[in-house]
Symmetry: D2
Subunit: 153 residues, 4 copies
Amino acid sequence: MHPSSWLCLNRSVRFGDTDPAGVIHFYQLFRWSHEAWEESLEKYGILSSDVFPKAINYKDNPPIALPIIHCEADYRSPIKTGDNLDIELIPKRINPGSFQVVFEFKKKESFVAKALLRHLSIKAETNQRCILPEGIDRWLEASSIDGVIASID
Amino acid sequence: MHPSSWLCLNRSVRFGDTDPAGVIHFYQLFRWSHEAWEESLEKYGILSSDVFPKAINYKDNPPIALPIIHCEADYRSPIKTGDNLDIELIPKRINPGSFQVVFEFKKKESFVAKALLRHLSIKAETNQRCILPEGIDRWLEASSIDGVIASID
Amino acid sequence: MHPSSWLCLNRSVRFGDTDPAGVIHFYQLFRWSHEAWEESLEKYGILSSDVFPKAINYKDNPPIALPIIHCEADYRSPIKTGDNLDIELIPKRINPGSFQVVFEFKKKESFVAKALLRHLSIKAETNQRCILPEGIDRWLEASSIDGVIASID
Amino acid sequence: MHPSSWLCLNRSVRFGDTDPAGVIHFYQLFRWSHEAWEESLEKYGILSSDVFPKAINYKDNPPIALPIIHCEADYRSPIKTGDNLDIELIPKRINPGSFQVVFEFKKKESFVAKALLRHLSIKAETNQRCILPEGIDRWLEASSIDGVIASID
């Protein structure tokens, strides 16, 4: 699979995402970003139950959790109900136990907003730092512009 | 277009839709229902700016508003992160100034939940009751099992 | 404690609760209702960790879960940013294994909206029906207009 | 009024704010921050209708909008259902047409998370930059540790 198949996503802005100012209510950008990350993992071939606790088909919860320790967003142009947004994901391994994803939101090639989510890898039971889960590592490797592309199929 | 192209939709359950009980947090079903209604109108060919205030490309806000006056939901089986849900919309005109949509959520043919949204048609400026907007009427007509199918293309 | 101390609550409507129609986005009423129920239990004296999984100070998750199986809402008058709402809770035991709470929302004595949440009691491990947890039973008893009032302090 | 009466707020973490990891779902921190800002303005004495479009008692929408152009958050310790959080607001005027607010979240004196919202002042009709509205300026002045305290009563 070509990385763009899991790093170039799309979504429509819905009425409930916006507020009386007629634009998205600011923190919705973070919800869209997290959902884009989940969709990216899914398209790449990672099972929800390998990453998230209490997902479908889980026998035991994943031993590793990936809490977000930092996030930020910049808003360049108004985003309105009915807008169709292209979302480009730019994942990056920071070190063996943490990674970040930048999400660039565009409307017809024009940049409208950007978000960044930074995750840490911890043992779910003890909250101790640990290395990234194997599936996330493969997704990061495959998503890297410079790295060797390993795919799941 | 065949009605199923705008009345049979689909969505994936995301991590942020669920709570520590490991299932969707109950009111998310209503958010999914409203978004499914918006997607249905969009697929049928109604512009967001004809229905919703402050949508893209609006010159003036629509003269008619469609507030929800009643809604309800029933939850049959657990819905979890990673679930893929088929959503069947069953719209129905109640009278010239009000309509409802039932949303049936299924997981692989198995019924998991149902929601109903009931809307009233009012003049946006005065809040007075009025007849349904023309586009909504056409969508209701086209979506009716018994009615004549009129499509926009 | 007098029942009104945990059955008569209050909240302010915030900007992000509303949409471009200038009124609350409909499903927010359900979020407010669930939060009012949690606040009621807290004021009555029930610990979060006795009712909800993964709450503060939990050693083990509660053995009984209380999924919502049905909910509904009626919207009478517009609710806007800055509105201050009085919320009256009317809990009722339906049978030994289920209960409901009606939430009446008023603005200066004037009824604006109503919601109903209906819960079932199930064993968290097996999903089997069971009787209501003891704390919930005491809260229902104490909240009943006709019943004997038992309080926790 | 003493600044702490509008700069030191408090909230309880509710079940629907959290996710299956048993902690707040990250972007809820931004919702709490915006609501704390609204509560701060309200306690200081600014009317909702002077700041937010379509608020109660509005005759005309405010001529000036205050879109968020940047926001960020850092998460230090887990925040769980039932936690009671103290929120300290630290507002700061950046220049005559923009300001930011830092929100420090603490659990019994212990720092758990922090958020920052940065706003720009624009003419609502034209989207052109302009100076901050008078009410916001007074709130910023009164909230400043070094500045002259002007209060509304």
